[in-house]
Amino acid sequence: MKKYILNRLGLSVVTMFIVATIVFFLTRILPGNVARRYLGRSATEEDLVKFNAKFGLDEPLFTQFYSWLGDLLTGDLGTSMAFNKPASELLLPAIGYSSRLALMSFLIIVPLSIAGGIVAAMYRGKLVDRILTVGGLSAAVIPEFVWAVTLILVFGVILGVLPVTAFPTRGDPTFFAQMEHLILPSTALLLVLFGYIARITRASVIEALESDYMRTAVLKGLSRRRAVVAHVLRNALLPSIAVIASQVPYLVGGLVTVEIVFNYPGFGTILRDAVGGRDYAVLQSGVMLTSLVIVLFQLAADILFAVLNPRIRSRITE
């Protein structure tokens, strides 16, 4: 087990190194004109030299790459060129806000999607199943912003029952007021992620329902519901864990758009502003932090998966 975890950990480090390489060189595809793009056409040669010296852009590209990597490893996220302050001062609070929205969404998405998958599996082939599977997967391919705007139109404007910004504006909001503001954004994310998680849960529940141990349980006299709760879920939820972890990149991508629509001061809004303002340090560090979160989730899911299922553990280590 220890060997497996070390092995996976090593692979994650390699992945992060490659991500860093891609992120760094992607932002420098057109070498040398960061300063020009940032300062605009009216900047003089002297301004450019000064700017490059200030941000270390006058050194060879590989030196810059390694000092950037070293800074990241010691927790220095660079300096925002747009705000002239440490990028961490912008990114860390934003990531806090985003995590809150992500957590709230996860708390809604995961149980609902798993329940949806179980219901679909138990009524396999019936109308409920068709609605949940076809409906869920159709909803999943419609972009978050389309859902977000439609939800705002229906619940915010026509019915007027829910707040249309993700962030309470007045006073010192209670916990429930804050949660209320997160309902619509979370629902937009739910609609996109429900289908994938429900489909995998459905497939593994069906597989478990058809297994020998399930037949034994029913023959033993357990009611179908008892048998599902006692035997099926334990086995069927394993693949769901893997799928939920694999959906984290989509959740993060979705957060970016949903935050922008609902005017939420999270990571997505910062990222959009950094793209618009060509704020490279914020952009690079922001993407690195995102990838780190995703890689860690993947790692955690793989380890959890292996702990829960020894058969898979030996298969992976081979």
């Binding site: 159709s138 912003f145 139109l153 990838s291």
Partner: protein
């Protein structure tokens, strides 16, 4: 020797034909697939003939008819600039259709070639390629695209197409590689090697036809994601020309007005995105069902 191998090949060709006929029959009976194909067909027709049937130029402004409700003159109403929403939705169709199809085709060609090579050569080439592909998929598609568009300073749809194509290549490569890994063990590949066929011939003439089904399914799945990504990017204002009638751009320009009950410049392009995305998804679902039987 020569005669017997060619006999074996004609037989496998005949088999392939019956399998294909069987699958077509199944597809024709698959309701979800048919509905999807019908809707996609409709959008493809609009993409081709949209500019002919559009009642107004998509960028013409009529300041006497600003934010008008849908009516006989303006079927989908007008936006705050007095532009005809119906004509703009038609013009946007062409953009999203060419962008998403080209991007997916690019990703399929690049990813398919890499996947074929990785699955066939294995060894170091495979290991390194797979590591890089895994790293790319650790960054959300939308964020890589935003990053690349910012880096390339690209407010142009062709750059977006290129970026989306390259971002999708890893996933396609992975699918193709998995299919090739099991194919490469089969006898016809060994036979081709014995005949001293050149590697490109083995890859593209022998293996490729046999891994086409997963590639076709993957193409339609990625097409759905491409529509998703391109619509979202244009909504965020990245990688599209200013004033373009992209469906996503139309929504981002007009959605704030839904608070004044001016819903039509937002809802019509939104419905267009939804129906196009769902139609492609129904098609890929149908194909998946049929090919996996």
């Amino acid at each position: 020797m020569n005669a017997s191998t060619s006999a074996a090949r004609t037989k496998s060709n005949a088999e392939r034909k019956t399998i294909r006929a069987e699958r077509l029959k199944l597809l024709r009976r698959n309701k979800a697939f048919l509905v999807g194909a019908l809707i996609l067909g409709f959008w493809l027709l609009i993409a081709v003939f949209g500019s002919i049937i559009a009642p107004h130029p998509y960028d013409a402004m009529d300041f006497m008819a600003v934010s008008k409700k849908p009516s006989g003159t303006y079927w989908f109403g007008t936006n705050k600039l007095g532009q005809d929403v119906y004509s703009r939705v038609l013009a946007g169709t062409q953009l999203i259709v060419w962008m998403s199809f080209t991007a997916t085709a690019l990703g399929t060609i690049v990813g398919g070639t890499l996947g074929l090579a990785a699955g066939y050569f294995k060894g170091w080439f495979d290991i390194i390629l797979m590591r890089i592909l895994e790293a790319i998929s650790a960054i959300p598609v939308l964020i890589v695209a935003l990053l690349a568009i910012a880096a390339l300073d690209g407010q142009s749809s062709s750059i977006t197409v290129g970026v989306i194509g390259f971002v999708f290549a890893p996933n396609i490569a992975r699918t193709v590689r998995a299919a090739v890994l099991s194919e490469a063990e089969l006898e016809y590949v060994a036979a081709a090697r014995l005949r001293a066929e050149r590697t490109p011939h083995i890859l593209f003439k022998e293996i490729l036809p046999n891994v086409l089904p997963p590639i076709i399914v993957e193409f339609t799945v990625r097409l759905g994601y491409a529509i998703f990504a391109i619509a979202t990017l244009s909504f965020l204002g990245a990688g599209v020309e200013a004033g373009s009638p992209n469906w996503g751009s139309q929504i981002s320009e007009n959605w704030a007005y839904i608070f004044s009950n001016i819903w039509w410049p937002t809802l019509f392009p939104a419905a267009a995105i939804a129906s196009l995305a769902v139609s492609v998804n129904l098609i890929s679902d149908g194909l998946l069902e049929v090919f996996e039987v």
